[in-house]
C-alpha cells in the first residue's frame, strides 16, 4: 500500500509541478531555462513541446495530434491553420463535454497569449488528422505545419505513439527533435 501511495504522490506531484511551471513560473523562465528547447524550432517565439499522435487502429483513417504550444514572445500569436503533407485533411478541433455528452467543434483561430501557453490534450483541443497518405505506426513520425496570422510558420515532427502511451511531460523532450 505504501508503494501505491508514494507512486500516486509522484504522479500528483509531477502534475502539479508541471501546472505550477506552466501557470506561475513560466513567464519568468520564458527567456531563460526554456530557451534550450527553442533551438530546434523554426519560429523562435513559439515552441511546440511534447507533440505526439497515438497510432490509429488498422483501417481507421482518423487520428489526432497533441502538444503544448508556448508563446515566449511579447505579443500574442494567432494560430490560423494546421496542415500536414502526410494527411488529406487536417483541422484544429476541440472536444468538449456538456451534460455528459462529448461533442466536437472546429476551432477557426487559436490565440496563444504573450508569454502564455495552450495545451492540446485528449478530450480537449486537438489537431484532427484525416486520411493518412500512408499508414502510420508507432515509431513513425510526420511533419505538421502550424501557420500563424503573422505569416510565420512552425514545422514540427510529430512522433506516432502506441495507443495509451503519452510522452512524459515532466522531462521528456525527445518529441521535439526535428527531421
Amino acid at each position: 500500500m505504501t508503494e501505491i501511495g508514494s507512486r500516486s504522490g509522484w504522479i500528483i506531484g509531477t502534475a502539479a509541478l508541471v501546472a505550477l511551471l506552466g501557470t506561475a513560473v513560466l513567464p519568468a523562465f520564458a527567456g531563460g531555462d526554456h530557451s534550450k528547447h527553442e533551438m530546434t524550432q523554426a519560429a523562435p517565439a513559439i515552441m511546440a513541446m511534447n507533440a505526439f499522435s497515438p497510432a490509429s487502429a488498422p483501417g481507421i483513417g482518423t487520428a489526432s495530434a497533441y502538444m503544448m504550444l508556448e508563446n515566449a514572445s511579447g505579443s500574442q500569436a494567432d494560430l490560423v491553420d494546421v496542415s500536414s503533407p502526410a494527411f488529406n485533411m487536417v483541422h484544429l478541433h476541440k472536444s468538449s463535454m456538456s451534460n455528459g455528452v462529448m461533442t466536437m467543434a472546429p476551432v477557426a483561430q487559436l490565440t496563444i497569449p504573450a508569454g502564455g501557453k495552450v495545451m492540446f490534450e485528449p478530450g480537449g483541443l486537438h489537431v484532427m488528422l484525416m486520411g493518412p497518405k500512408a499508414p502510420l505506426k508507432p515509431g513513425d513520425s510526420f511533419p505538421l505545419v502550424l501557420s500563424f496570422a503573422s505569416g510565420s510558420e512552425l514545422e514540427i515532427a510529430v512522433p506516432v505513439t502506441k495507443a495509451g502511451e503519452m510522452p512524459d511531460m515532466s522531462h521528456d523532450h525527445s518529441s521535439m527533435k526535428m527531421n
Binding site: S8, I11, A16, L17, S56, A57, S64, A163
Partner: protein
Amino acid sequence: MFRQISLYLLPVIIFFFACVTAPAQSVNGVILDEPEAVGAFTLTAQDGEAFTQERLKGHWTLLFLGFTHCPDVCPFTLANLEAVRTELSQLMSPDKLPEVVFLAVDPERDEELLADYVKHFGISFTGITGERPEIDKLVESIDGFYRLEKSGPGDDAYDVTHSAAVTVINPDGEITAKISPPFHPFSTATYLARHMRGLPAVN
C-alpha cells in the same frame, strides 16, 4: 539547522500542495443507489457471436459507447480502460478483472473494422454492434445518448456525438455506477477496486 530541515520538508510541502491543486486525479464517479438490470438486447460481437444481456453476467463489465472513426475521445478512453485493467491486475486476480465492452453505435462504418479496432486497444476487449433498434435498446438501458452528425447522404466523414461516460455493470448484469472523464488509470482503478469490493467510494 532550520534551513536543512526545511530543505528536507520541501518535497513534503510540494506533495501536499500538489494534493490540493491536482483535481485532475480525482474520479468523476456516480454510484447508483440501487443497481439497475440491463434490459434485453441482441447485438453481435466482433467474432460474429450473438451478444445479449446474458453475456454481461458472471463478471464485472466496463461498457463504453462510441464509434470507430472517433479521432480523439474514444481512442483515449479505450486506451485508458486498458491501462485501468493493468492497474487493477495489481490489486486482484486476473479472473476478477472487469471486461471492457465497446458498443459501436455507427455500424455502417464500424462493423467491418470492429475486430481490429478493439484489439488495437486491448487484446481482451469485446466490440459489439448490430441493428439500430437493438443498439438503441442498450443505449437506452444504460441511459446513454448518441447522434450521427451526418450532413447528407454522401457524407462519410461525419462525427458522432455521444455519451462520454463508462457504465459499470456487476456480475449480475446490473448497472451499479457511471464514471465520467477524465479516466486517470491509477485513480480509476483504485475507485473501481473499492466499488467492486462493495466499499464506499472515495472520489
